[in-house]
């Protein structure tokens, strides 16, 4: 079987100690939470740190509470506890759906929200064994200098493949982090950067501690849509989240549409506010939103499924998302 490289596994009991360990072993250390992304990646020799700092035992990273107009989600909460939590289900149902649609039951028991936010980007030329990648001649993202997706490309386009960020972005979530330099909070939108090699602004010694989601206003309708080959296990081929705020007259007050699994970061579809604000979501408008999304979505061969089809599914899923959002109370 594929074996792991030797490492030392640290299980600090508090955040301070964790940060201390990250500092102490800087350059040769990685934080690990559920490990469902990192451990397979280590088996593929994509990472080989000499030290792992476990985050699941940190009390500061746990808890799901409502506080000061926000739902605060501990980064080390498992995806299944997120999907099942009454606060999430009642206030953020599309987040519960997104979390519940990740991988399969065991992965959801192990994987964490923070890990999902920090999920490494994925590519058919990257998520392979050392043998396979060496036979390929490696790639831009790891151990090599050639991109096999975009010939001659100099920027890695591995796909952001996490399920929770699109809906969290649509809901205006913020990420709280901690590092030896201190704590900070950034908009999730800004947290992601369009670089497939490392697609967040998280520094190697920085830990995601919490996600904070503003309590949705009563008129906010949301939807999460996931395209995948199998109904379980698989990463998304396309994921799409919608949050649309309606006034008492069913007119659009705000609209956010985020599409992911195409490039290195989730893409917020632009120009929709101008298009939709003050309008009712009638069929023609829905079609125009779908067209906008299609125009702004350009899948790449980073995932081994036909790109033309994946692109064509964008408007289909936009329509479904809007219909679902409108249908739900």
């Amino acid at each position: 079987m594929l074996r792991l490289h030797p490492y030392e596994y640290h299980r600090p009991r508090e955040l301070e100690a964790a940060l201390e360990l990250l500092k102490e072993h800087a350059g040769d250390v990685m934080p690990i939470a559920g490990g469902t992304d990192l451990v397979p990646n280590m088996k593929h020799r994509l990472f080989a740190p000499g030290h792992l700092v476990a985050l699941k035992g940190l009390p500061e990273l746990h808890g799901i509470v409502e506080r000061q107009g926000e739902i605060v989600l501990g980064a080390a909460e498992s995806l299944s506890s997120l999907a099942d939590h009454h606060l999430v289900r009642s206030h953020l149902p599309s987040l519960a759906r997104a979390a519940g649609a990740i991988a399969h039951p065991m992965i959801r028991n192990q994987a964490t929200l923070g890990g999902n936010i920090c999920l490494d980007t994925r590519c058919t030329y990257y998520n392979q064994t050392f043998f396979w990648r060496e036979a390929l001649g490696f790639c831009l993202k790891k151990d090599g200098d050639v991109c096999h997706v975009v010939r001659g490309g100099t920027r890695c386009v591995a796909a952001h493949s996490a399920d929770t960020p699109p809906i969290l972005m649509a809901l205006g979530a913020k990420v709280d982090t901690a590092s030896p330099e201190g704590v900070r909070s950034v908009e999730l939108d800004e947290f992601f950067i369009a670089d497939g090699i490392w697609n967040t602004q998280r520094k190697p010694d920085e830990i995601v501690t919490r996600l904070r989601v503003p309590l949705p206003s009563p008129g906010l309708r949301t939807s999460y849509q996931k395209l995948r080959e199998r109904r379980s296990v698989d990463f998304p081929l396309l994921s799409l989240a919608l949050a649309v705020g309606l006034d008492g007259d069913d007119r659009v007050e705000s609209i956010a549409l985020v599409v992911a699994a195409l490039g290195a970061k989730p893409r917020r579809i632009g120009g929709l506010e101008t298009l939709a604000k003050g309008e009712r979501l009638h069929d023609e408008l829905i079609e125009e939103i779908a067209r906008q999304a299609y125009r702004q979505s350009n899948p790449l061969d980073n995932i081994i499924v036909d790109i033309e089809w994946r692109r064509a599914m964008v408007p289909v899923f936009v329509r479904r998302a809007i219909r679902e959002a409108l249908a739900r109370p």
């Binding site: 490492y7 596994y9 397979p40």
Partner: protein, 173 residues
């Protein structure tokens, strides 16, 4: 490459199927490697190397968990239950008996993982629907059965447990 340096051996205490073991393990071992190659509990299987098939599923404090991608240290201080711990000394668990009765095991390699997922389901849901069973087993790949006889086994076991009767008796009635 530093990853090939000599592994560190860690002394840990693991609670597996109610037994507390103090063992030395290379610190980079997964729970599956520890169960199979250190403790000799070979019931949990290795199928895909990395969390894609569910054959290695064990219960960690009652929750189905992929032991093949779980660093062994994450099991410290928690109750690990493997397929070997599902049966009572006086006989097989209703799920094991029911699976035998319905023919839900063919090659038997996915079976331990399937049964651990099913056991976790029945612990929280005493009369699951067919759809709930399908969802609970959706991380456990079976290549032999087409799943049908596994569903029948879980349904039979659930009924046997509810009625506190042996599965064979339930099947006859």
């Amino acid at each position: 490459m530093r990853c090939w340096e000599r592994p560190l051996i860690e002394i840990i205490r693991l609670s597996v199927n109610g037994d507390s073991h103090e063992i030395g393990v290379p610190s980079h071992y997964t729970l599956l490697e520890t169960l199979r190659y250190v403790l000799g509990l070979t019931g949990s299987k290795q199928g895909c190397d990395k969390g894609d098939c569910g054959a290695c599923t064990v219960l960690l404090d009652g929750l189905p968990t992929l032991s093949c991608i779980l660093p062994v240290q994450e099991a410290i201080g928690r109750q690990v239950t493997t397929i070997e711990g599902l049966a009572d000394p006086d006989g097989p668990h209703a799920l094991q008996d029911a699976l035998d009765l319905t023919g839900g095991a063919q090659c038997g390699f996915c079976t331990p993982g399937i049964l651990m997922s099913a056991a976790a389901l029945l612990n929280v849901n005493s009369s699951p629907t067919r759809q709930e069973i399908r969802e609970a087993l959706s991380g456990n790949l079976c290549r032999c059965t087409g799943y049908t006889k596994i569903y029948e086994a879980v349904e039979l076991a659930a009924r046997a447990l509810r009625e506190q009767r042996p599965p064979a008796e339930v099947l006859r009635s």
